[in-house]
C-alpha cells in the first residue's frame, strides 16, 4: 500500500469486557491504526512503562528502560467502568506522569452521566465516547493524533521543502552536508551534557512520545 510504518498510529485500548475489546480492536484496525488491547488499567500502565508507585517522585528513576522506549503509544482509549482502577483513575495517572502526560486519552462509557463526562474532560481527556462506539466516533481521533505525533518533524520538513524549491541541486547538497555536520556536533554536545547529569534526574532520556503540543 506504500504507507510507511512510522505513519501508522499506535493506539492502546483498555476495557475489561472481552466483547468490547474485540469491537474496539476491529474499529481501530478498520481505521488503519495499530492496536494493542489490555483488560485493566494496571496492565495499561505496565505497557506504557509506568509503575504505579512512581509518578513524579524525584528520588526514584521514573521509567523502566525497556517497554517504554520500544513501544510508542500515540493514544490511549479506555472504558470508564472497570473493576480496580477505573478509566478515570488511569487518566489521572497518565496526566500526572511527566513522561506520559502528552499522550491523548479518550474515555468510553455505556452511561451518559454529564457530571462524569465533565470530570473526565476537566482531568484532561480529549474526548468522551458513549458506547457502543461507532466508526464515525473514531474520525474524531485523528486531529488529536496529528497534533502530537510528528508535529516537529512535519514543520521541519515543510521548511526544508520550501527552501529546496528555490535552490539549485548543488546548493541543496551543500546545505544537506552542513546540516548533517551540525546535527552530529549538537548530538555530541547533547551526549556530553547528558552524561554529566546525576542519576537522580527524572526526565527520561528517550523523548519519543512527549513532543511538544
Amino acid at each position: 500500500m506504500g504507507m510507511a510504518a512510522e505513519s501508522q498510529f499506535h493506539v492502546l485500548a483498555v476495557d475489561d469486557s472481552i466483547i468490547d475489546r474485540k469491537l474496539i480492536e476491529r474499529l481501530l484496525k478498520t481505521s488503519s491504526y495499530q492496536v494493542t488491547t489490555v483488560d485493566s488499567g494496571s496492565k495499561a500502565l505496565e505497557f506504557l512503562g509506568l509503575h504505579e508507585d512512581d509518578t513524579t517522585n524525584p528520588s526514584t528513576p521514573c521509567v523502566s528502560p525497556n517497554n517504554h522506549q520500544e513501544v510508542e503509544v500515540n493514544l490511549v482509549i479506555t472504558d470508564y467502568c472497570m473493576p480496580g482502577m477505573t478509566g478515570y483513575d488511569l487518566l489521572k495517572k497518565i496526566k500526572e506522569s511527566s513522561s506520559l502526560r502528552d499522550i491523548p486519552v479518550v474515555i468510553m462509557s455505556s452511561e451518559n452521566v454529564p457530571s462524569r463526562i465533565s470530570r473526565c474532560l476537566e482531568e484532561g481527556a480529549e474526548e468522551f465516547f458513549l458506547k457502543p462506539v461507532r466508526l464515525s466516533d473514531l474520525n474524531k481521533l485523528r486531529p488529536h493524533l496529528m497534533k502530537t505525533k510528528s508535529k516537529d518533524q512535519h514543520q521541519k520538513q515543510e521548511k526544508q521543502e520550501e527552501k529546496s524549491a528555490f535552490q539549485s541541486p548543488k546548493q541543496q547538497q551543500q546545505e544537506k552536508e552542513e546540516h548533517q555536520q551540525q546535527q552530529q556536533a549538537s548530538n555530541n554536545k547533547r551526549k556530553a551534557i547528558e552524561e554529566g547529569l546525576s542519576p537522580e534526574r527524572t526526565r527520561p532520556r528517550y523523548n519519543g512520545i512527549t513532543t511538544v503540543v
Binding site: S17, I19, K22, L23, S110, P132, R134, L135
Partner: protein
C-alpha cells in the same frame, strides 16, 4: 437453479433481519457489526456473537445460582453481573435482552427478590429466543455463501 438458490437465501436472510429489527430484538448496532466484517475479517460477526453467547451463558448461570441460594442477599454482586450483561448486549445490538436487564437491575436495586426471579425467567427466555434466531441467521448466511460458490466456481 442454483443461482436462484443464492438469491432466495439472501431474501430469506433479509426477511429474518427485518423481522428481528421490527420486533426490537436487534437494533442498528448489529448492522454496525456487519459493516465491520470484510475480506480481512470475514467471520467477524459470528466471532463476536459466539463470544457473546459464551459470556452470556456464564452470566445467566451466575445470576441463577445467586438467586437460588436461599440465603441470597448480595444484590450488589448481582448488579455487577447485570451491568456486564447489559453492556455486552448493547455492544452487539441485542436490544430486547438489554431492556430486560434494565428491568432486572431495577428490581435488584429495590432488593426485590421475587421481582428478580421473574426478571431472570424473562431474561433466560429472551436470550434463548435471540440465540435461536441468530443461529438461524448464520445458517442461512452459510448456505448462501455455499450457493454463491457453486454458482461462480473458482477459476484455476
Amino acid at each position: 437453479m442454483l443461482g436462484l438458490g443464492a438469491d432466495r437465501l439472501r431474501a430469506d436472510m433479509n426477511r429474518l433481519l427485518a423481522f428481528l429489527f421490527h420486533q426490537g430484538i436487534l437494533d442498528e448496532q448489529y448492522l454496525q457489526l456487519q459493516q465491520l466484517q470484510d475480506e480481512s475479517s470475514p467471520n467477524f460477526v459470528s466471532e463476536v456473537v459466539n463470544i457473546y453467547f459464551h459470556e452470556s451463558e456464564k452470566l445467566l448461570r451466575n445470576l441463577r445460582s445467586l438467586l437460588m441460594d436461599r440465603e441470597f442477599s448480595d444484590y450488589k454482586k448481582m448488579g455487577i453481573h447485570l451491568n456486564q450483561f447489559m453492556g455486552s448486549s448493547s455492544s452487539i445490538g441485542a436490544k430486547r435482552v438489554r431492556n430486560v436487564c434494565v428491568a432486572f437491575r431495577a428490581a435488584s436495586e429495590q432488593n426485590n427478590r421475587a421481582g428478580c426471579l421473574r426478571a431472570l425467567e424473562l431474561l433466560e427466555h429472551e436470550y434463548c429466543f435471540l440465540k435461536n434466531k441468530l443461529h438461524e441467521l448464520f445458517q442461512i448466511e452459510q448456505q448462501r455463501v455455499l450457493a454463491v460458490g457453486v454458482r461462480y466456481p473458482m477459476q484455476n
